[in-house]
């Protein structure tokens, strides 16, 4: 929070470095892709706050259209920030077992439509007890493991048992099922549709089984950025949990409908032959398990080393920048990147249009 903030109207060159930028036209383009894709569809986008962590930016997608006016949050603290930012419909997409956090969620449920995913009966009963004590009702969705081997029920029978128990309990309202999946590597359109459909069908099998037991299923929350155009074509899916599409990252470049909107501006500190040294290191860029960013417009420049607050780059020939020049970096891991910053500097036509706080940064709880 000690970093200097630029003024509205400053040129890009005047922005203190390093800073995390949003290319506003690129982000608005991504939001308009969503509003057009979901226009006239039963299925709507429920944008994920874990990628953006700013209710101001989330609201911009809601205003652009294509959503159900609600968002996802990964953690309870993130949900609090969204509700405090004016969003009144939040689905928490991680299981929550801490009584402290469930009490916080119950408090939120008194002023907003709050839903939580579950995969365990003891946890369900705990949620019921805490919500009942608080005098509120929390919506619950059964998480289904479709492919990732993470949390979630492993079979339709497990889902039916949980749904049945949820309908018996006070303080919780059974809403439906949810799942999250991923596709490895650089996926073409056919792979996205084939794999995406296959995974989502597993989630829908649980829905069908629950309905077969006589319990109505209102929500099927599935899909993400790579299935943003797959899920709405599958009957029964009511919402998609997309997040990455808003700002994008180079590893998702196969999603050609979207543009990269998040960039880090850095300054070249020193140059020596083919080597350049910049004032952005791993602590502001993030480098989980060795993932490195790219230099915009210069695929020939590679990251040799990311130190704590600086990085060493190398080009194939003489380094094409001088000390003091600005370089723009594109992230390979967008939500890890955003979580390291306190504000976005919104850029439009080369000038600072706004500075948006990222109040859910660090909301691990």
């Amino acid at each position: 929070m000690i970093n200097t903030r630029p003024n509205i109207g400053d040129s890009v060159d005047q922005i203190p470095t390093p800073s995390l930028l949003i290319d506003v036209p690129a982000m608005d383009h991504n939001f308009s892709v969503i509003s057009q894709t979901y226009a006239g569809k039963v299925c709507k986008m429920r944008q994920h706050a874990k990628n953006i962590k700013s209710p101001v930016v989330m609201q911009r997608q809601i205003d652009a259209g294509g959503t159900l006016n609600g968002v996802c949050a990964a953690k309870v603290a993130e949900a609090e920030v969204m509700v405090e930012g004016g969003i009144r419909d939040v689905l928490v997409t991680s299981e929550v077992t801490s009584p402290d956090k469930l009490r916080r969620l119950a408090s939120l449920a008194k002023i907003a439509d709050v839903k939580l995913c579950i995969d365990n009966q003891d946890n369900l009963e705990q949620i019921s007890q805490i919500a009942s004590d608080a005098g509120c009702e929390i919506g619950v969705l059964i998480e289904v493991d479709t492919s990732m081997g993470r949390a979630g029920v492993r079979s339709p029978a497990e889902g039916v048992a949980l749904a049945r128990r949820a309908t018996d309990l006070n303080g919780v309202k059974f809403m439906g099922v949810m799942s999250h999946q991923t596709v490895d590597g650089w996926a073409d359109r056919e792979t996205r549709f084939t794999e995406g459909r296959r995974y989502i069908e597993i989630c829908l099998e649980v829905k069908t089984a629950i309905e077969g037991s006589g319990i109505p299923v209102e929500m099927v929350s599935s899909g993400e950025t790579f299935t943003f155009d797959v899920a709405p074509e599958i009957e029964g899916v009511t919402e998609v949990e997309g997040g990455t599409y808003a700002l994008m990252s180079v590893t998702n470049g196969y999603m050609e409908d979207f543009q990269i909107a998040a960039k880090v501006i850095t300054t070249v500190l020193d140059v020596r032959d083919e080597y350049g040294f910049i004032d952005a290191g791993v602590q502001c860029l993030g480098g989980p398990l060795g993932v490195k960013p790219s230099v915009e417009g210069h695929p020939d420049i590679e990251f040799i080393r990311m130190d704590a607050s600086e990085s060493c780059l190398r080009s194939k020939g003489p380094f094409p920048f001088d000390p003091g020049d600005k370089i723009f970096l594109l992230s390979a891991q967008q939500d890890i990147l955003v979580n390291r910053w306190d504000s976005f500097v919104a850029i439009n036509e080369g000038e600072v249009e706004a500075v948006w706080d990222i109040p859910a940064r660090g909301c691990h709880h």
Binding site: I2, N3, K50, R150, L269, D270, F277, D335, H364, H365
Partner: protein, 330 residues
């Protein structure tokens, strides 16, 4: 910003809201003192690298008098606690001059510059405005290190108060540092070594005046002294559980963390939000809500993910510090 449920002092570490970062006070104090004594016995001065923990209050606890930081924004925060010299790892320009002068009004500053030209330019900016700003020249051992190559040190800039060598990115620090220090000793200028990979540099028989190190408070004890406490949020099948601590709450920039206190647990991998815990199902079990302590592979990067540092001793919360310089990148 981090939004934990704050627990009163005296609470058990296992009752902290999860995930939370903590240090074990007696262990970090002991580590810091041991290292300080070893460096002193070797006849060298120690400057702690406070960018490792980014927490001015922790510098006070550790009795860190002279301090090194990477950035000017960190220097602004640490200038309030430093009682000796504050070393800043980056040169400043005209737009940062006022910040530098403000810091220099409360404490002496030393700036690490990459070239003698940079030193001349900075000296010109501060001429007559401050007297307690000095400069050291960063020496580049390999092309992948920032600084002036050894053969290009001219000493024409009389403001140089030292030569700065870093072991970062060096394949064989022992051998390389020994060779470089012998070469640099001909300049008869105090020699400073920044240890990023080889904190035992003080053990080498080198003609070095000062060691700059950040990791020493957090290594050395037989047990861990920095941890992140997390909770089990899902246990969907035998031998597998999911923790509420992922890459956003513990850095994997330097590798996957390890589990403290139960050798049958391994952390298979981490997603952005969760850690994936594995064990042989006949060896152990976990229950929902159970707390698991993780030891970060990268301490410095993990400090940068939190706003609050819990201070623990004998498994009891004894203090809470703000990590004031989290995100102070500029």
């Amino acid at each position: 910003m981090e939004r934990p449920v704050f627990k009163p002092l005296g609470s058990s570490v296992y009752d902290l809201d999860t995930p939370s970062l903590f240090v074990i006070r007696d262990r970090v104090l002991a580590n810091a003192e041991t290292y300080r004594n070893l460096v002193s016995k070797a006849g060298k001065r120690l400057t702690p690298n406070a960018s490792t923990h980014r927490t001015p209050a922790l510098s006070r606890l550790l009795n860190q008098n002279d301090i090194y930081v990477n950035t000017i924004s960190e220097a602004i925060a640490f200038s309030n606690v430093v009682s000796g010299q504050l070393t800043i790892g980056r040169p400043f320009n005209s737009t940062q001059l006022q910040s530098i002068l403000a810091i220099s009004s409360v404490t002496p500053i030393r700036i690490v510059a990459s070239s003698e030209q940079q030193i001349s330019e900075m000296a010109a900016l501060i001429q007559g405005k401050a007297e307690n700003i000095s400069f050291v020249l960063r020496v580049s051992i390999t092309p992948e290190q920032r600084g002036t190559p050894i053969g290009q040190i001219n000493e024409t800039e009389k403001l140089i108060s030292g030569l700065w060598v870093s072991d970062i990115g060096i394949a064989d620090p022992k051998q390389q540092l020994t060779r470089i220090c012998m070469e640099l000793s001909q300049h008869n200028i105090p020699l400073v070594i920044e240890t990023c990979m080889f904190p035992d540099t003080y053990t080498l028989n080198l003609d070095v005046d000062e060691i700059v190190d950040g990791s020493h408070p957090f290594i050395g004890a037989s047990d861990y002294c920095v941890g992140v406490i997390s909770s089990v949020v899902s246990a969907p099948e035998p031998g597998k559980a999911f923790l509420d601590c992922g890459q956003k709450a513990i850095s994997t920039d330097g590798g996957v963390p390890t589990v403290v206190g139960n050798s049958s647990f391994t952390l298979e991998k981490m997603s952005a939000e969760h850690g994936f815990l594995l064990w042989e199902s006949n060896e152990s079990s976990v229950s929902l809500g159970e707390t698991i302590i993780l030891k970060p592979a990268s301490i410095s990067d993990t400090f940068n993910l939190y706003d609050y540092l819990n201070i623990v001793e004998s498994e009891v919360l004894v203090g809470l510090m703000e990590i004031q310089c989290r995100g102070a990148y500029s």
